[in-house]
């Protein structure tokens, strides 16, 4: 029997605002002395009240705009009630039925559109630390602004999920609203996976959520593992259990954490401590106008404006810093008659350390490398000819399909030449001569 995976994704992104979501404590908690960034509000002391962070809300909406969401003019916060020692108020302030952003999408490189159900704002919890028989709680993270991005169950394979995550990470970094550093927990991923019999209508009657995944690679592995595991169960005519599983990297498998057969009742209700929010249309359009150029737009522009390949543009825009660097270098290169394509090649092939080499210096390097390759054509032909004569075995090997020997021949030519040559250029030349 054939099955199609049905995969949806919840991603939590921690914003890098200066202060926390509902108090003035600094939100930069990583590596700080435990409980040094706390106050009555984020400790949930009696009587303390939340006051929402305006910038965090703005950034949440900007993420929504970047994901092509609708931004309703009315929104509110809600209380999500549950008990856990890292949750000081006994409820998390989140958004239930009227989030800041709804109904968006991301388009993958294969043209597939992934629906974004909602983007909402909430607060992070404290952190539990277990040592021996003791469990300790650090509330430095309590109340750090968290944006949750939920997709429709539109994925059917792990590769697409990975690309989606990379794109999402790129977008929030372009917006400069989160470091989106997986290792620091700035970005947390929770795929839910189930399998549908081919031809079956609707969604499967169960769902497995996988938590504790701290890299894109592990998401891929965890999803692939789940697909195989669930398929085996289904082929035995067993329905996989509705549950939360965790990715166990050492064992290379997911392990059951908590059965979710009974849905937890969070008793959501509107947060009475925060009045509902009503936005003006003009406020939203101001935010739209503040949006930076996003990765996809930049990639398209690079292709058109600089006549680059899709592949080159994609590499250059991967992070905003290198894209900006590239554009600056193109500007500087104009005076020296160096075209964007040459600069792109140089950056992509030579991988210079962009944080150390200034664009102007890069231009110098490119000019220098051009000068080294300056050799009389006939003189080069002579050298190649003599190299071929002295290395007939290698020439033979190449013609018999052993293409790797070409690098040996390149080395011979470079050594024979009186001037420094560009290896890439020599290689092309040799290839042409041998074919």
């Amino acid at each position: 029997m054939n099955f199609t995976p049905v995969i949806g994704l919840e991603v939590h992104v921690e914003l890098k605002t200066n202060s926390k979501m509902f108090c003035r404590c600094t939100a930069d908690y990583f590596g700080k002395e435990p409980n040094s960034h706390t106050c009555p509000v984020c400790l949930g002391l009696p009587g303390a009240l939340p006051v929402p962070n305006k910038l965090a809300i703005e950034w949440c909406i900007m993420i929504g705009i970047a994901l092509d969401c609708k931004i309703p003019l009315f929104s509110k916060f809600d209380r999500k009630n549950y008990f856990y020692p890292d949750l000081p108020k006994g409820y998390q302030i989140s958004q239930y039925d009227q989030p800041f952003c709804v109904d968006g999408s991301i388009t993958l490189s294969n043209g597939k559109k992934i629906g974004i159900t909602r983007v909402h704002m909430e607060e992070d919890t404290g952190k539990l630390m277990h040592s021996g028989d003791d469990s300790l709680i650090d509330f430095n993270r309590s109340g750090v602004p968290l944006v949750e991005i939920v997709t429709e169950p539109d994925f059917d394979n792990a590769k697409d999920v990975k690309e989606y995550l990379q794109k999402l990470q790129q977008i929030v970094r372009y917006l400069d609203v989160s470091n989106a550093d997986m290792e620091k927990g700035n970005m947390r991923l929770e795929p839910n996976i189930s399998l549908k019999k081919d031809g079956e209508m609707g969604l499967p009657n169960y769902k497995v959520e996988v938590k504790n995944i701290n890299s894109f690679r592990f998401v891929e592995k965890a999803i692939d593992f789940e697909i195989t595991r669930q398929k085996e169960l289904l082929e035995e005519r067993e329905t996989p259990k509705q549950e939360t599983r965790g990715w166990h990297e050492a064992k290379q498998k997911t392990v059951s954490q908590r059965s979710k057969e009974e849905a937890q009742d969070y008793r959501y209700f509107p947060e009475p401590d925060i009045p509902p929010l009503r936005f003006e249309e003009s406020y939203i359009s101001t935010l739209r106008s503040k949006m930076p150029e996003l990765p996809d737009e930049k990639m398209n522009r690079f292709q058109k404006e600089f006549n680059l390949s899709l592949y080159d543009s994609e590499l250059l825009i991967r992070d905003k810093e290198s894209a900006d660097y590239f554009e600056k270098t193109v500007e500087d290169g104009k005076k020296f008659d160096i075209n964007p394509k040459q600069i792109a090649n140089f950056i992509i092939n030579k991988k210079p350390n962009l944080s150390e080499v200034l664009p102007a210096e890069l231009i110098q390097q490119i000019t220098a490398s051009r000068q080294t390759s300056h050799i009389d054509e006939s003189e080069l032909d002579e050298i190649i000819k003599s190299v071929f004569e002295n290395n007939q075995k290698a020439v033979e090997d190449f013609k018999n399909g052993k293409e790797s020997v070409i690098m040996f021949l390149v080395g011979q030519v470079m050594r024979t030449s009186p001037v420094k040559l560009d290896a890439q250029m020599v290689k092309e030349k040799l290839k042409n001569a041998l074919l």
């Binding site: 949930g44 009587g47 401590d273």
Partner: protein, 471 residues
């Protein structure tokens, strides 16, 4: 002269003229507490040493000509206001040893205004109740008759004012917790518009209703305290940006031409004596040139249902933080009333029931708000009995899980509509227990209701009737 019997206005005058010092005033209150509080039980904590230090400091400032509005005036604070370094229990054993590291905004504003804090007053545990009988620190007794209850939840606050154990008090009301004990204890209690006074640092009962306010001997004192408390607080997102007024300035404004609404719905099930006392107010009002007009308001029974659901729901969530992990004792220390409210509120918020209870209650709340809005198109203010009865005997709330709702049925509609209301003494019953009248106005009409309350008060003898504590 008994200094502890003075009003704020009188005390301010005396301090200014150096007839006595703040230390004298504070000592007079502390002595009264020592003498009577073992019988009244208005206080949970008395901060004698701190109080006297604050009084000394106030005297120094007075000598320097400092004009702070409450400089050197002793006040009692209800025990659900966070006070830095002073135990704050909300009358629950859960917080038996809890000492807050910060001040409620109300407390810091009062301290900035120069108050001397005498101590923290008893209340119903978590403000759940209208009798102080749910307190884990014993019941407060009504100073007019210690076999009777003071009302609640701000029962300790009202009793501390009535028994002259303070010059004035700070209480808080969710629905009735200022006005009802003020009524039963024969003092003035003002519940401001929701959002007029900051809730920051006040141990939450029902967050969408809680309103801190003053309990005083006179309307003028009430206005003086409101001037200090009112206004936007950047720590409370629900406080209003609306400008405040100098509430004590226009108390004597002529009220002739004012239309006072009265609704028969607020007289059902009300004691005859109370009914009569409220009808007796028409005369002084008419003398002042006001017109009495019959209006039709929603039956208060709807407000009771709405209030019960909203309040229990919010309580169940607000009390979730008391897990004993970071401070306080664990949840086994909750009393029966808190447990009942947590269970009921958890139920009404549960999935499948939310729409039937919480959501429906919010919809009815909107109707009640509109009903008041409509009435305020016809009349300027509304008067009604504050409580259907005078102070009930000690023990009356036992096994009555709806005791509070019934005792507060006449104040609940205006509370859930977020309106301001004030209790003013309006007479005594045959057995010499105080009767209270409430004046309700539109949102942010504090200036108007204080004006009308003051004019009425000055026209009647009730506020000058001295209590002889008879033990």
């Amino acid at each position: 002269m008994n200094l502890n019997q003075l009003t704020i206005t009188e005390a301010k005058k005396g301090l200014k003229k150096k007839k006595f010092s703040s230390v004298d005033l504070t000592n007079a209150c502390l002595e009264q507490i020592k003498k009577y509080d073992k019988h009244i039980n208005a206080y949970i904590s008395v901060t004698e040493e701190k109080s006297l230090k604050q009084a000394e400091k106030a005297d120094q400032k007075l000598a320097q000509g400092d004009n702070s509005p409450l400089l050197g005036i002793p006040l009692s604070i209800k025990d659900n206001f966070s006070t830095r370094g002073v135990r704050t229990t909300a009358s629950s054993k859960v917080l038996d040893e809890y000492i807050p590291p910060y001040n409620a905004t109300v407390v810091s504003r009062l301290l900035d205004a120069g108050m001397v804090m005498l101590g923290k007053t008893n209340m119903d545990a978590w403000a759940h109740g209208s009798s102080t009988e749910t307190s884990d620190f014993g019941t407060t007794k009504n100073p007019w008759n210690i076999n009777h209850l003071p009302g609640g939840s701000s029962g300790g606050a009202a009793a501390s004012v009535a028994s002259y154990e303070t010059i004035a008090a700070i209480g808080s009301e969710t629905a009735g917790s200022i006005r009802q004990p003020a009524s039963w204890c024969g003092v003035v209690g003002l519940k401001p518009t929701y959002g007029r006074v900051s809730r920051y640092g006040v141990i939450a009962m029902a967050s969408s209703l809680d309103s801190p306010g003053p309990i005083t001997r006179t309307v003028e004192d009430s206005a003086l305290i409101l001037e200090v408390l009112a206004g936007k607080d950047e720590n409370d997102a629900t406080t209003s940006e609306k400008t405040t007024a100098t509430y004590s300035k226009n108390l004597n404004k002529d009220i002739s031409g004012i239309t006072i609404g009265i609704s028969d719905d607020y007289f059902q099930g009300v004691d005859e004596e109370v009914k009569q006392a409220i009808m007796d107010t028409y005369k002084p009002f008419e003398k002042l040139g006001a017109k009495i007009k019959k209006i039709k308001l929603f039956d208060p029974k709807y407000a009771i249902a709405v209030y019960t659901i909203l309040q229990r729901s919010e309580v169940s969530s607000n009390l979730a933080r008391y897990d004993g992990i970071r401070y306080g004792h664990d949840r086994s220390f909750f009393g029966d009333e808190a447990k009942r409210r947590i269970m009921l509120g958890t139920y009404t918020l549960s999935s499948g029931y939310y729409d039937a209870y919480y959501k429906k209650a919010q919809q009815v709340r909107t109707l009640i708000i509109k009903d008041f809005e409509k009435s305020f198109g016809e009349v300027d203010i509304i008067i009604a009995p504050t409580s259907p009865t005078t102070a009930l005997p000690v023990g009356a709330s036992k096994d009555q899980s709806m005791f509070g709702e019934l005792a507060d049925m006449l104040v609940e509609p205006s509370s859930i509509a977020g309106l301001p209301g004030i209790n003013v003494p309006a007479g005594f019953s045959k057995n010499r227990l105080p009767i209270g009248m409430q004046i309700i106005g539109p949102q942010f009409s504090e200036e108007l209701i204080l004006n009308i309350a003051h004019k009425y008060e000055q026209e009647t003898p009730w506020h000058t009737t001295k209590l002889d504590i008879n033990l």
